[in-house]
């Protein structure tokens, strides 16, 4: 069986992620695709760089899959996050959720992306024309210079 939860350095193949959750009992497949945005609060991003603690990150993605399954019993989930250098519009994360009915697939997908931003050890570095910085929290509100996290974090 293809891996359902993983970190990759290669471009994400969204069709492969969808295929992971395709199932005869499903009546809906919801996909979330997170892409690299050029403009954040008026500032132009040139490119992003992602780092991850890969073994733990994959374990936490699997944990999110289990959490989804405990809330939406019949859901099938696959989550892939890319790391390394990503250009504008590249896919950073892809989530596919299949469920028998559509409402659950939307809710479960939303749940999964919010949890990724809370518990998965992946870090994003913004590169701008006039500098670069590791982003300090998953709500994209706190920016801190390298090695100087802000006061907020959302770990459980």
């Amino acid at each position: 069986m293809a891996k359902h939860f993983y970190i990759t350095k290669e471009p994400i193949d969204i069709n492969a992620v969808v295929k992971n959750v395709t199932h005869p009992h499903a009546g809906a497949i919801n996909t979330f695709i997170g892409t690299v945005r050029e403009m954040t609060k008026g500032k132009r991003t040139l490119f992003l760089e992602y780092d991850a603690y890969i073994p733990m990150a994959e374990k936490k993605l699997e944990q999110i899959g289990s959490e989804v399954n405990s809330r939406w019993k019949e859901a099938r989930v696959s989550i892939v996050h890319r790391i390394g250098r990503l250009e504008i519009s590249d896919i950073a994360v892809a989530i596919a959720v299949s469920t028998p009915h559509r409402a659950d697939s939307y809710e479960a997908s939303r749940y999964a992306i919010e949890r990724i931003k809370e518990i998965v050890p992946i870090w994003k570095k913004e590169h701008w024309e006039d500098g670069e910085e590791w982003i300090g929290d998953q709500l994209e509100k706190t920016v801190y210079p390298s090695g100087k996290p802000g006061k907020e974090h959302l770990y459980d």
């Binding site: 603690y53 996050h81 870090w123 994003k124 590791w134």
Partner: protein
């Protein structure tokens, strides 16, 4: 000897992906104090410690040689 893995901003600040701590047993709290001494450039405010790929919230939890320890800044994936 305990290897402590570094990522993102912490890794850049130190210029390497791990720190070797010359101890065989110590608590999370002792580890953090020790790293503050040997790598004074690092600001560990809000940095979490993961032991064997799980976050540890108890500063008194004991780490032994052979455990996989990592310092995790607040995450920003997605």
């Amino acid at each position: 000897m305990i290897n402590v893995l570094l990522f993102a901003g912490l890794q850049e600040k130190v210029g390497k992906s791990e720190i070797l701590v010359d101890k065989d047993i110590l608590t999370i709290d002792e580890l953090v104090s020790h790293i503050r001494e040997i790598e004074s450039r690092l600001d560990l405010t809000n940095v979490m410690v993961a032991v064997n790929e799980e976050l540890v919230n108890d500063p008194d939890q004991v780490i032994r040689a052979g455990d996989t320890v990592a310092l995790l800044p607040p995450v920003s994936g997605g």
